[in-house]
Symmetry: C2
């Protein structure tokens, strides 16, 4: 199939998602392939923040907790995210960071499996998932152990001692996708519960938590959901666990009656028990703009475009950069690939630096991975060619040998 500029521009003209690009404020002269790290700015966000700051905070002051529905925002935005990830109303809450929500979800799952002792994950999982497990284990005083095994050994490791399996659905470095339904089924068959980290899947691929029978999930607001830098994260707890799962981070907003100011903690009914402190109103406002925009997109069309962007990018890399020593790190098979394509290259760091200076922004993950996020809402098919030609230009001129990069690479 022809992948010249004209053919790609024809695809762009027929793209059912083409209208979304103008809803984002994208900088001139930049080709942004890092929406899997920080999503772009929805144009609606600035007006929304101005309203939140000037009218709600400035004018409404304390009354805005009720008058501007600040108090309901964690549930309201949670319900909107729920619709993107196959969860039901009242099963998702927006709060805290992904890391803190990992802690909440894993400890809640542990409270449902008190007779078991192991939190299992895979080596190379996003570090915060592994680190939070390790913190839980260390604090448990020997009652709980954190264990990570290679991804293909996870199912074999499931056994009577495993309380919780913590997995990231789409791998942050490679973009490889776990089969959520299969892994969840296997974990349940072994008597374990599963916590899914959706940071690289929500808004990137169709997610069906309840279809898979998932127990808990967490995810990030600032990647494919375009919620802004350090946006609040979210937590999913399947309705069937709401009664029995006990929050360890038992803050006042997760109390059954926060404004009764009682001395003793009584968890709220439902998902609200996974709230802890006061909601971050400004971050929540920006996040809601990103989520609202994503909610307008057809997830099937989004997945189709995402996969096609990936196929085209991989093909063009073979055509134009085949001789430069890149190794594909992401799965070639559509069903196993998220919304990013990664390549390994010994000069990966220097190449990515050179690309950035040419306005092509992806990112680098040690030791040698160049990661390109393919965000269907604001990227075009023709952008794939432009990116690949810039990569070729860097490699042809061996621009990565710039001594500045050697120095920088040495300290990475």
């Amino acid at each position: 199939m022809s992948r010249d500029r004209a053919a790609l521009e024809a695809l762009d003209r027929e793209d059912p998602l083409r209208g979304f690009r103008q809803r984002f404020a994208l900088p001139e002269g930049v080709l942004y392939l890092d929406g899997n790290s920080l999503g772009a700015l929805p144009r609606a966000a600035m007006a929304r923040l101005e309203r939140t700051v000037v009218e709600e905070w400035g004018e409404g002051l304390i009354t805005s907790w009720l008058a501007a529905d600040w108090m309901e925002a964690p549930r309201r935005v949670g319900d909107k995210i729920a619709a993107l990830i196959g969860a039901g109303p009242g099963e998702v809450i927006v709060a805290d960071s992904t890391s803190v929500n990992v802690f909440k979800a894993v400890t809640a799952a542990l409270s449902l499996r008190p007779e078991r002792s192991v939190i299992l994950s895979e080596t190379g999982n996003f570090p915060t998932d592994l680190y939070m497990m390790q913190g839980i284990a260390a604090f448990s005083g020997g009652r709980v152990r954190a264990e990570a095994v290679a991804g293909d050994a996870v199912l074999g490791r499931l056994g009577e001692d495993v309380a919780v399996l913590l997995l990231t659905q789409v791998h942050y470095k490679t973009g490889a996708v776990h089969d959520m339904a299969e892994m969840t089924r296997a974990a349940h068959a072994a008597g374990a519960l599963v916590v899914w980290d959706l940071s690289h899947s929500a808004g990137a691929i169709p997610v069906d938590l309840n279809g898979a029978g998932a127990d808990f999930a967490v995810g990030c607001g600032y990647k494919f959901l375009n919620g802004g830098p350090g946006a609040p994260a979210y937590l999913f707890a399947a309705q069937r666990h709401h009664g029995a799962a006990v929050p360890v981070l038992s803050g006042w907003l997760g109390h059954a009656e926060p404004f009764a100011f009682e001395d003793g903690y009584r968890p709220a009914d439902g998902i609200a028990r996974f709230l802890c402190g006061t909601p971050p109103v400004l971050g929540m406002a920006a996040l809601e703009c990103g989520v609202d925009l994503m909610a307008e997109a057809d997830m099937g069309a989004l997945r189709d475009k995402s996969l096609r962007l990936g196929r085209i990018f991989m093909e063009l890399m073979e055509t134009h950069c085949g001789e430069f020593g890149f190794t594909l790190v992401s799965p070639r098979e559509d069903a196993r690939r998220g919304s990013q394509v990664s390549f390994a290259h010994p000069q990966g760091y220097g190449i990515m630096q050179a690309l950035k200076e040419r306005g092509v922004i992806g990112d680098f993950r040690a030791p040698d991975v160049l990661r390109f996020g393919l965000t269907p809402l604001y990227l075009r098919y023709a952008d794939m060619l432009e990116a690949v030609l810039q990569i070729r230009a860097v490699c042809e001129t061996r621009a990565w040998y710039d001594p500045r990069w050697k120095v920088r690479a040495a300290v990475t």
Copy 2:
């Protein structure tokens, strides 16, 4: 001393802090006495947020983590808060919510007293402090106990089993101030560590953490620091504890090398180990505006004005509302009072509702407390008279008997 309007206006003209009021965007026709719950909007915040959103997020995208110093913000804003609370550079970090920081600080303190088992606090402390203690105890599987005793029994309860004393310096309901130096000394003499909650003291009264030899502290960004609704909170850890205190919430940003993406957690040196997830950039930007403004104020002048506002408010309440059945809940003695004055009244809820409809905003805390926050940066002496005359007007007309309030009061 004369407390008529002319005399109060004369005080306002001589007030060394009078220039600060215009730095806040205050709504017309509102007398805001709830800055101890949500501080007012610094005028600088909107421009700052616009820059952060439009330029840093929109234009800079992922590069702003370094180019706009987002990554350093937790430490930078932390150092600015440190200067307000008697801490040194590198001892305060901005992150998460107060509740989550209570968890971090208490568990860090526990890690330094592994042979002791009790977290001690006082009954009636702000609930989130008590609830977080209870969550820690519940998760510890019997190793740790959470115990709260009456405020005047705390020192007597200190003993060989107490690992951590968790106290709020200024009481959220009464405004009563603990003697930080004395309580810390007593706790240390008994071998315990102390975690101070500064939510109602930072920016309200002079705080001298290192002068008192404090171990850990946490506090809220959205009250007297005027950081915006749900602003990020902060955590102080005395330098001497940085090496040994182990974070339980061991997230990736608290790792010694977050971008090495290692599988094993190794805590960062210094205060950075108390970071957990990705910093909330928008909330941090607004908070920094509030903190910068507070940093310009002379803390001595601020305390003088705060106490004088309180004395005048109490005197005027006696003069104009003496016959209406209010009971002073806050300490009359200056040294024992924070920057708020609270009264109990059987019709407290209804009176506060009526005041709000008249544009006088304080707040109500069950069962019967009317709480008036006195924020020296944007309140005037003449405002005290205006507030008291409005309270008198409500009480004279017995406006609280409006049946709507009876209903609302019944469900509070």
